[in-house]
Amino acid sequence: MKAWDAIVIGGGHNGLVNACYLQRAGLDVLVVEKNDWVGGAATSRELTPGFLYSNCSYVCSLFRPEIMRDLELPRFGLQVISYEGGAVFTRDGDYLANYRDHDAHRREFARFSKRDAEAYDRYARDVTRQCRFIQPLLMRTAPDPTSFRPRDLGELLYLGKKFAGLSAEEMALTLRFWTMSISDFLDEYFETDVIKANFALSGIIGTALGPMSPGTAYVLLHHYMGEVDGSVGAWGYARGGMGAVTKALAASFKASGGTIRTGAEVDHVLVSRGKAKGVALAGGEDIYGKLVVSNADVKRTFLKLVEEKELPDIFLRRVRNFKIRGSSGKVNIALDSLPEFPALPKDSPAYRGDMHFTDSMERMERAYDDWKAGRWSADPFLDMVIPTTLDPTMAPPGKHFMSCFVQYAPPKIAGADWTDADRDGFAESVISQIAEYSPGFRDRIVHMEVRTPREIEAEVGLTEGNIFQGELTFDQLLFNRPVPGYAQYRSPLSGLYMCGSSTHPGGGVMGAPGRNAAAEILRDLAKSTSHMSPAHDVI
């Protein structure tokens, strides 16, 4: 009976990145994916004829360029088109836009506050400084602070040196950044509500916290660390939808000899004497492997795929308590024409970027209040993009695909499971918000897919539909992600590894967890990692 060198559970982007690196190291790797397609939360699906839906993740920036290079993703078809900014619509019929051009950006802000317009440089400086501190950590395994192994000590020293290299002011800022709320953080720079709301959204996306909750400042940072082809901080659309990322990964994987089985749901991990031996599929088939890597989140992996008796108690308790709370949903819409927003000039580049309707911190926080009460937000926060304004491959000519990321959506409605009626109510809150700013919007809708945490968990397998496989709060970062003692992609079971966003450095279509996990696995196997580029220098 064949035993694979490695079996990767789940064909999401991190699973595929991990599989690619292992395969290229000479291992014989199998990826098992429960859906009939790969991609996890980075997919493009034709849900209605002629329209490709980026139905989970929808924009690209964080994916590490080192991985793109190592795995030859451009050769396998990945192309990212950067967009030009975006806008927040205000309730008085105006909007606040973000432009790539520094001076246009300043003049736009000056329409609302000359002071805040000139405060942007200081804000950008401080955020950039923090990003530069964290960025090199993304592609390194977090050190285990309790270990005395030379490598851990070395990594701890590296972290310590980096921290010690900061000025006193920066150190203070770093600690504040990692702990404070995005609202408090923005108050230090800006005084205009719409300008703060404009920045705050990056601090709450995907997070079951409000802008006034401590810890949200770091989430903002997480979203600033990306780039599009060297343009730091830029965001873009993957041509052909976000599925293009995983399509390229799958093609790269297959080209290097890897095997993918779709429609193969794992029921449980086969364990014998404390060691993972393979996986048992839901259909009853057992597949054996010398090691198993789980792309599933930490809860799904250890509370569903591994029997409790195989795991230590404290580990299990920490996994149970890992915060992976559902907070968002998606409404994906096929449109028969480009919606109009009368507030926005017809030639505004904001049409091609991300658009929002939440123009105050209070509205944002109130939306979160609904989540706490177990309701979807009556006045939700939307991150809305129309990728077809830049990518004609996703819809027929003249027609458009619109992706609305919607927050907040609780994992349960007042303690009960989501019903279809709840889902429709959730969708209506979104459509009515858009229609308020875009007359005739409803008439343009050809087809719509509504995904509450229920649908996201059922299809993608993300626990509670949490897009990051666990909150990006400081208690769950670095050597505490996902749980203390197991932050180096290994688990209490020998031969079972983790490679999903539950691990360091966390969520977003970044690929770093998958890559870092591969490096650890290859280290355990005493195999070369020379095919893995180190993190680019930050100078």
Binding site: D103, A104, E118, D121, R125, R132
Partner: protein, 419 residues
Amino acid sequence: MAKATRKKPAVTEIDAPADARTAAQSHFRTLRLGTPFQPRIDALARTDDWYNWAGYRAPHSLWDEELEYFAIRSQAALFDISPMTKYRIEGSDAEAFLNRVTLRDVAKLKPGRVHYTAWCDDAGFVLDDGTLFRLSPTRFRLCSQERHLPWLLDSAIGSEVTVEEETEAVGGLALQGPTSFAVLVDAGFAGVDKLKIFDLAEFPHDGGTVTISRTGFTGDLGYELFVPAEKALSLWDRLMIAGELRGIRAIGYTALNRARLEAGLIVANADFTTAEHAIRTDRLRMPDEIGLGFMIDLEKGHFNGRRAILEARTKRKLRHVLVGLEIEGNIPAEHAIVYYKKSQEVGLVSAAMWSPMAKRNIALASLKRPFGDTMVEDLWVEIYAMRELQYQKLMKRAKVVQRPFIKLDRRTANPPADF
């Protein structure tokens, strides 16, 4: 009828602010603004060689950067300084406020005078340098390279002072060169002969006034003129017509940049990095580290950064020094590394040129102390001169020299000569 009369004003009321809003939004279509003088400059721009100066379309050169430079030194050069950031600072506490913000003693700056100054953050790092114009006992104009409104407003809390950004509302021209005085006289600015260096006065122009100061960025005889944007074109025309026989020429930044280097003057974010833009904290500089120590007035009372500056001085924590260098030969040492004994790296050249006025190869450099401070011997610069796709590497001796590199008596002569 009644209906119509009710309706009409209502419509105007809604449309007027909406139109203003639409107009304000349109800036995304023109990423580089024109200055109030742009129609005249565009008409003269034969090289079409533009750069971005703080969001404005500004000329590197207009027709010939060499000849534009010589217009500064031999004739009169007209340079548009409108993109410079301008703040109007007014109120009974304006003097006290500016004394707290800036390094020099503003009490010593009399109405009708200008001084070159700088300001620091609380840690004593330079936020910017600029010129402070005292227009009246209670009214000032602060001109700078970068923008500082949040800093100024935060510092103004508790003071009887208003701070208003007026960059777009005020046009500015630098008229520099030996015939600049004569041009102003010919243009009919009676009394301009009374202006000594760093004096300013208001003169009638086109039904309004223009503020003329005997200041500039060239080390030459010269003036700066500030005018409300709507009177800008008539001022330009007045000067150009009067200056025709005095050799007046419009110039771009390349020429001005040469003149300022000969004058030994520094440019923010070219010769040092301003504190609010320095991503790398080791790039921050105290005034003493960029040659602005002379501005610091420790006697005047508290000002932003005072404690830190004092501590750095007493504990000898000043790490850098900005110096003028004279380099052997005639190959400009732009961005060359400075060495001690040809081997130990001790600094970097931030600006360099062969000076036609000094007939010397000059440079500004930031050095790590004690080099350039107490150790000034055996300094070298390594020049990588790209010549037809090959670097000609030169190791040239550098001598620390006093700035300015050139000193022109005509700059301060009273009254200025009628060239």
